[in-house]
Amino acid sequence: MVANLLFLLGILVLLQYLSYRHPHEWDLTKNKRFSLAELSLKELSSLRANLELWAFVESSDSETRDLLHQYEIASPRLKVHYVDPRSEPEKAREFGVNSPPPVIVIRYGKQEEQVTEPNEERITNALNRLTKGSARTIYFLQGHDELDFSSPGDFGYSLLRSELLKENFIVKSFSPFKGEDIPMDTSALIVLNPRHGFLPKEKTTFQKYLSHGGRVLFLAGMDTSKEWIDFLKSYGIQIEDDLVVDPAIRVYGAGFGILATVTMLPHPITAPFSGLKPSPILFPLARGITLEKLLPKGMTVTPLVTTSPFGEAIPIKVEEHKITPLSKTPIRKGAIPIACVTAQNSDKEKGGRLVVFGSSLFADNQWFNNQATSNKDLVLNAISWLAESESTIAIHPKSTETPAFLLDQVSIIRLLLLSLIAIPGLGIVLGIATWLRRRHL
């Protein structure tokens, strides 16, 4: 009997051990808030060699352990070793861990990186750095009265900049005044609404850069210099002097000039949105784009984002900082492109890529981190595609979008009545009813 019991216990422990070692998980929350983000999963799926995570965490730190467990489940190539730094200080010394726990040391081949205060973002970025080798460099163009990429104000782009840093890019600025070429290490060049033109010498620099496989993200604004507009035209992109609105889709509370788009056309940049119902992308003061039909050989232009089929373009006049509609009658109707991509095949191995958005404000600090929109995802996906690191393209994790939970006086009284009187009263009523019934039997 005892032997039988021990045998059964042994079998059950073995079964549970196997179940623990090979678990399957289904996150049934609406926004998958207890799963690793798509970005992390992609990173793990691209692992080509085994990776070891040495976790210097306290036994009571279940949050870090749960997170690391998610990584373990997601990739068979990843192994986590737990070390309690208080009980095994010699191990901490061996790995050079001096910070207080939790600290993760990631070993990939002979390379090693330490992550202090680990969270999913930091761990995945460290994996990215280790597995992808050297970091890529993003340059912001300067010297043509561009919008300020480092300003923390509403109209600055410091949030975009810090997000790029988090995603393992090196961020620098570049001014080609002295006629020097665009740096060799440029992964992508970002041009934020230049309001001044360029010197003829600079034009040649940009043309040379693009024809030799350069990557440019251009955000146009209402007051972008005409020289730049003409420059883009030579790449098949005509930015019109109009304001695009979409009377069919108006977001409640958004002004007339804020366009909400829903139509994303198939492209690697928009691919992560397919199959999902993403939050809207809001383009404040967007200019319409016309795609040129006659293009130089080897060049293709494709629209990326358009309005709904009911979009309208209203002619406008921009004087200093004032925008005046010239007429109430739209000059164009239909699905008007707001963003497009030009790809150029050159003799070199890599073809040039140019992504143009008709609104520069959609990625500024005011809109970049807006939880209700997907602006951040779209602009980061575009930069990732340009820098040709498509494995970093993903929907970026979002916190739960929950409306404020407000209760008025009447609701609080109802809450108290329901929870403390009505529901527990059910037990008392049923008990008395049973007692009375039994008394009459």
């Binding site: 009997m1 039988n4 019991l5 059964l8 216990l9 059950l12 079964l15 549970q16 179940s19 623990y20 678990p23 399957h24 998980e25 289904w26 996150d27 049934l28 929350t29 609406k30 808030r33 207890f34 799963s35 036994s59 009571s60 279940s62 737990y82 070390v83 309690d84 208080r86 009980s87 095994e88 939880q371 916190s399 739960t400 979008e401 929950t402 409306p403 404020a404 939970f405 407000l406 209760l407 609701s411 609080i412 109802r414 809450l415 108290l416 329901l418 929870s419 403390l420 529901i423 527990p424 059910l426 037990g427 008392i428 049923l430 008990g431 049973t434 007692w435 039994r438």
Partner: protein, 254 residues
């Protein structure tokens, strides 16, 4: 199914005693009080800071289900203590064993009757989610996972309680033993946390009955947690069955 008449009889006995109604009312009163507390806390935070970004499923229901799991740890033994101990005390166990049911069916009927009682206890709590839905969206899939988790957890409590109840003819001893074992299975994780060896803390954490409930409370289904509860139920039902089968042992004890 042959077990239904016995199951029906067990439920009738359970709900004809004051114990069931007192336990039912006390459970709903405590859970109701905690529900009000969590709801008012979230409403206060929302009023002060606007949308806090926390879902009601996390801020109210996750906490509530954790609390309910602990309350049920103490209340379930009150439901299971009677199951076999009372039969032994009244001398009806031998009579029961002569029913046209085999020992497994008797155990299953007893287990299912206690399980049905727990389901009846939990049913009114669905009204909380219907109330909350007027103010914030409810993630029904998460709620279903939380209910599944608490039912599996209570299934384990009942299996332990049933086993303890077959050991003695004293209901108080059976209830105390059940609470002792369940508390041990809960607090074992705390011992693990203070263990100097990281591997031991993982092993002891895996043995903890409430640790496995955490993923359910978040709205995450994990096969390892489901198998833990199922295997625990299976083990205690099996040892109870073996205990019942050794009738000679019963004879000696009486």
């Amino acid at each position: 199914m042959k077990i239904f008449p016995l199951l029906n009889k067990e439920l009738k006995i359970a709900f004809s005693s004051a114990t069931a109604y007192v336990t039912f009312t006390v459970f709903l009163l405590i859970v109701g009080y905690l529900f009000v507390g969590q709801s008012l806390m979230l409403a206060k935070e929302s009023f002060a800071y606007g949308a806090t970004g926390t879902s009601v499923m996390d801020a109210i229901f996750r906490v509530l289900f954790h609390d309910a799991a602990v309350i049920l740890l103490f209340l379930t033994p009150a439901m299971t203590m009677r199951l076999l101990a009372e039969e032994k005390r009244a001398g009806t166990l031998e009579l029961l064993l002569t029913y046209p049911l085999n020992d497994l069916e008797i155990i299953l009927a007893k287990f299912c009757s206690a399980f049905a009682s727990v389901v009846i206890f939990l049913l009114p709590t669905i009204l909380y989610s219907i109330f909350i839905q007027r103010f914030a969206p409810i993630e029904w899939s998460v709620l279903a996972t939380q209910y599944l988790g608490i039912l599996l957890l209570c299934g384990s409590y009942i299996a332990v309680g049933l086993w303890a109840s077959h050991l003695t003819d004293n209901q108080i001893v059976a209830a105390t033993l059940t609470i002792g074992i369940l508390l041990g299975l809960w607090l074992i994780a705390w011992i693990g946390q203070s263990s100097p060896l990281a591997s031991w803390s993982v092993v002891l954490g895996q043995l903890s009955i409430l640790n496995h409930f955490d993923s359910f409370s978040k709205g995450v289904l994990n096969t390892s947690d489901i198998t833990f509860y199922l295997l625990l139920i299976l083990f205690f039902l099996y040892v109870t069955l073996k205990g019942l089968e050794s009738r000679s042992w019963w004879g000696r004890s009486e």
